[in-house]
């Protein structure tokens, strides 16, 4: 080690040591321990749990059923039976603790998503009951005349 030729080697070793020490602090313990090798397992395993812990916002009609059985039953008997409550009432979120967190959408546009008449015979859309929103009672909300929980019944009169 007396030769000046070897001196850069010391520098290189010090740099490598620094990188290894820095890596020890920066790389989490669960990084790269996946079962599928470096191609698919090179990740922070703990992140899977973080994704599992994301809050569920839409709680499905089964959640609404317990407190609103009348509405639920009415819907299940109607042609709208397959539509989830939250599609129009917004995600249940903190409801019932915070009733105002529900964002009920009574707009014409919501109904028009399915009931704008589109003549497409090759999709389910072609057989749906539809109207032309540019001519059918323009300016009125659909719920004025049609009761959304059971469209066969008459709607609100405001």
């Amino acid at each position: 080690m007396k030769s000046h030729v070897w001196r850069p080697l010391v520098v290189v070793l010090v740099v490598i040591a620094l990188v290894l020490v820095a890596r020890k602090f920066l790389v989490p313990a669960d990084f790269g321990v996946g079962a599928r090798g470096y191609m698919y397992g090179w990740h922070r395993a703990g992140n899977e749990q973080q994704w599992k812990d994301v809050k569920v916002k839409y709680k499905t009609a089964a959640f609404c059923k317990d407190c609103h059985p009348d509405k639920y039953d009415e819907m299940k008997e109607s042609p709208h039976r397959n539509i989830n409550c939250e599609n129009c009432h917004g995600p249940a979120l903190n409801h019932p603790d915070d009733p105002r967190s529900l964002t009920i959408d009574r707009s014409r546009e919501l109904c028009a998503r399915c009931h704008t008449r589109l003549p497409y015979p090759n999709s389910g859309r072609g057989v749906m009951k539809g109207i032309d929103p540019t001519t059918h009672n323009v300016g009125l909300d659909c719920v004025t005349c049609h009761w959304p929980h059971d469209p066969r019944k008459e709607g609100h009169k405001r």
């Binding site: 990740h43 569920v56 389910g124 749906m128």
Partner: protein, 260 residues
């Protein structure tokens, strides 16, 4: 003074040593081997029935709210495309705002707020195709991620580690399906993850729950009794861009040749 012979010997030794991958020095670990063989968990797959989709876009709305994708930004984890094939052989495709508000117009959105009107009599066939991340078995986005932020879980879902992503965009370029985008709030790569927080709790994804027509379904391919698995095994299903070798795990019923 180092001799020429000694220099050559040592160089060869160092080069040879460097050539040995670290994995060669790893001891045999039965646990790891078992982990690699483990196929007891789920393998999440998706089934889309294009014949049932009516283009209402409730799935897109539900997805955006559930997964906190900014509602008014023109990005979305899933979207619905409208295909209209006219009698002159042309295919017209649009997906205004990813069909977040459905398809409120008969006209085809050709950008800049303009609509191309198509006469009802000219339509040969028209249908809607929902799209989402294919959760490929051989995901190119995972392979190109330089930092291991995009990865595949044992149950087949590809996830993005938001705290690890450096926003280089390789995955966005690498995905042949264009399902990836930058999240405008978190400034990292974003994609559909089959509502991982819902399916791992035994729930359906937000888009499946929002769909009133049964056009979207999620299932477990490792469960032979799963109704989705049965359909995939017994019906004529198709996948998108099979030629890329990504082995997509979103299966389509009633797919037409116009769909790319």
């Amino acid at each position: 003074m180092i001799s020429r012979r000694s220099f050559c010997k040592k160089s060869l030794l160092i080069a040879g040593g460097l050539a040995i991958p670290l994995s060669c020095l790893e001891l045999f670990d039965p646990k790891r081997l078992l982990a690699e063989k483990d196929d007891t968990g789920a393998r999440w797959v998706f089934l889309v029935d294009t014949r049932k989709c009516v283009g209402c876009g409730f799935c897109v709305k539900g997805c955006k709210v559930e997964n906190e994708v900014p509602y008014d930004a023109n990005v979305t984890r899933t979207w619905v495309e409208r295909y209209i094939v006219t009698k002159d052989g042309k295919t017209h495709i649009d997906s205004p705002k990813g069909a977040r508000d459905g398809f409120p117009n008969k006209g085809i959105d050709i950008g800049h707020g303009r609509l191309e009107e198509i006469k009802d009599d000219d339509i040969e066939k028209a249908f809607f195709v929902p799209k989402l991340c294919n959760q490929c078995d051989n995901p190119p986005c995972v392979q190109v991620c330089p930092v291991g932020a995009t990865y595949q879980t044992a149950d087949g879902v590809v996830l993005v580690d938001r705290s690890w992503c450096i926003g280089c965009g390789y995955c966005i370029m690498g995905c042949p399906y264009g399902v990836r985008f930058f999240h405008p709030v978190f400034h990292v790569a974003e994609k559909c993850n089959f509502c991982y927080h819902r399916i791992t709790k035994g729930m359906q994804t937000a888009c499946v729950d929002s769909c009133a027509f049964g056009a979207r379904r999620v299932g477990n391919l490792r469960d032979p009794e799963d109704p989705v698995t049965r359909v995939i095994m017994t019906e004529r299903v198709n996948v998108l861009k099979e030629e890329y070798g990504t082995k997509p795990q979103v299966f389509y019923l009633g797919l037409s040749k116009e769909v790319k």
